[in-house]
């Protein structure tokens, strides 16, 4: 139907994925759990760095839309790095490694990783 909720007949023949609802496949990466936690995500982040920075920038824009003074981002950048040391191992170390490789401020990588709990706010 062409009014919300736009329900339609059950689709058929969509697989293998094709057509306008299929944007593309997903690349594979290896995460070596034998490496120190801070080094496990280097390969993935090195390749996805720009996309991650673009996402974080979009979240910053959203935060600034709510708090134009920039105080909210300041709070994230000051408070959340203190929180990373309270996170259970190996998550805190892995998050630090991601911040280092991507160049994204540590507080913002922490926010990205606890977003499910924060989102409820």
């Amino acid at each position: 139907q062409f009014i919300p909720p736009y329900t339609e007949d059950c689709r058929t023949g969509m697989y293998p994925p094709n057509g306008p609802t299929f944007r593309g496949p997903v690349s594979w990466y290896t995460v070596d759990l034998d490496l120190p936690p801070s080094e496990r995500w280097t390969a993935v982040i090195t390749e996805k760095k720009q996309d991650l920075i673009s996402l974080i920038q979009a979240i910053r824009n959203l935060a600034n839309a709510f708090v134009p003074s920039g105080k909210l981002i300041e709070l994230v950048d000051i408070a959340l790095p203190l929180m990373v040391n309270t996170l259970p191992s190996p998550f805190g170390e892995e998050i630090k490694g991601i911040a280092e490789v991507s160049g994204v401020p540590l507080g913002e990588v922490v926010l990205y990783n606890i977003f499910y709990e924060v989102f409820t706010v």
């Binding site: 909720p5 736009y6 329900t7 339609e8 007949d9 059950c10 689709r11 058929t12 023949g13 969509m14 697989y15 293998p16 994925p17 306008p20 609802t21 299929f22 944007r23 593309g24 496949p25 997903v26 690349s27 594979w28 990466y29 290896t30 995460v31 070596d32 759990l33 034998d34 995500w41 993935v44 982040i45 996805k48 996309d51 991650l52 673009s54 996402l55 979009a58 979240i59 824009n61 959203l62 839309a65 929180m83 309270t86 996170l87 259970p88 998550f91 892995e94 998050i95 991601i98 991507s102 990588v109 990205y112 990783n113 606890i114 499910y116 709990e117 924060v118 989102f119 409820t120 706010v121």
Partner: protein, 253 residues
């Protein structure tokens, strides 16, 4: 989100999910899309977690996110997580954490630990049901034997309900969106009814990776928030995922 675990007539278990995210986080008027959902799509990656050069588990994830929302422990179990809304939500857990009460687990760290360390469907189910958490959630878990498929409805402290596959009762699949299965979904966000209609129309005889993808491609199960569709076959140890689009007209959620 929509997650399904289905048992075909031969007893094979299939697990599929749409990962929807970005609601009310900025609408792009020109492109008719959610800003954050579109920014997440290029970050979708498939990950092979290995130890001693052996696969421990595999996951579809967003690069930079160390927790797990979709994963398979080959030949053992499959796991997805859907958001659960509750007033007793994650913000209370975060406040408790800041105040020094740290006996709860962050949701996606729990799923990562289960995928990494659990060695069976029952073991995974026990950890997901009994571990205290900072935020409520739905865990959708599939095993590797007949009947091993369930939805665990979690509050922060407890497991409120576990709904299992029971083919004898005609429940050959379990399906979860973002609402307690014993309640009607929010009337402006009923993806459950169309999803179940398509599953019932497919029937147990014809459920497969292909027809499961069809169900997850039907609007409004597929909507503007959908970033990827993942399909998992535990007995094959196979995970495949595809980045999605929902051209207008399409439900914003």
């Amino acid at each position: 989100c929509t997650s399904v675990v289905a048992e075909d007539e031969k007893g094979n278990l299939l697990h599929g999910r749409n990962l929807d995210f970005g609601l009310f986080m900025g609408w792009d008027v020109k492109n008719k899309s959610w800003i954050i959902s579109e920014k997440l799509k290029p970050l979708v990656v498939n990950l092979d977690f290995r130890k001693n050069n052996q696969t421990v588990f595999k996951s579809t994830n967003f690069a930079g996110y160390v927790g797990m929302l979709t994963g398979i422990k080959p030949h053992t179990f499959t796991l997805t997580m859907n958001e659960r809304f509750s007033l007793d939500g994650g913000y209370i857990g975060i406040l408790e954490w800041i105040m020094g009460q740290r006996d709860g687990m962050w949701m996606s760290f729990l799923t990562r630990s289960v995928l990494e360390n659990a060695t069976s469907y029952e073991g995974a189910k026990r950890q997901l049901a009994e571990t205290k958490m900072l935020a409520p959630a739905y865990f959708i878990l599939g095993g590797n034997q007949r009947g091993q498929g369930c939805i665990i409805t979690r509050s922060r402290q407890h497991s409120i309900d576990v709904l299992e596959i029971d083919v004898k009762l005609g429940r050959w699949y379990v399906l979860e969106t973002n609402y307690d299965h014993w309640k009607d979904p929010f009337f402006l966000d009923d993806r459950r009814t169309p999803a179940m209609k398509c599953m019932n129309q497919t029937t147990q005889a014809k459920i497969s990776v292909s027809t499961l993808y069809d169900v997850l491609s039907t609007k409004p199960v597929l909507n503007k928030l959908t970033t990827y569709t993942a399909l998992m076959q535990v007995s094959e140890g196979k995970l495949e995922s595809y980045i999605r689009d929902c051209p207008s007209p399409c439900m914003p959620w």
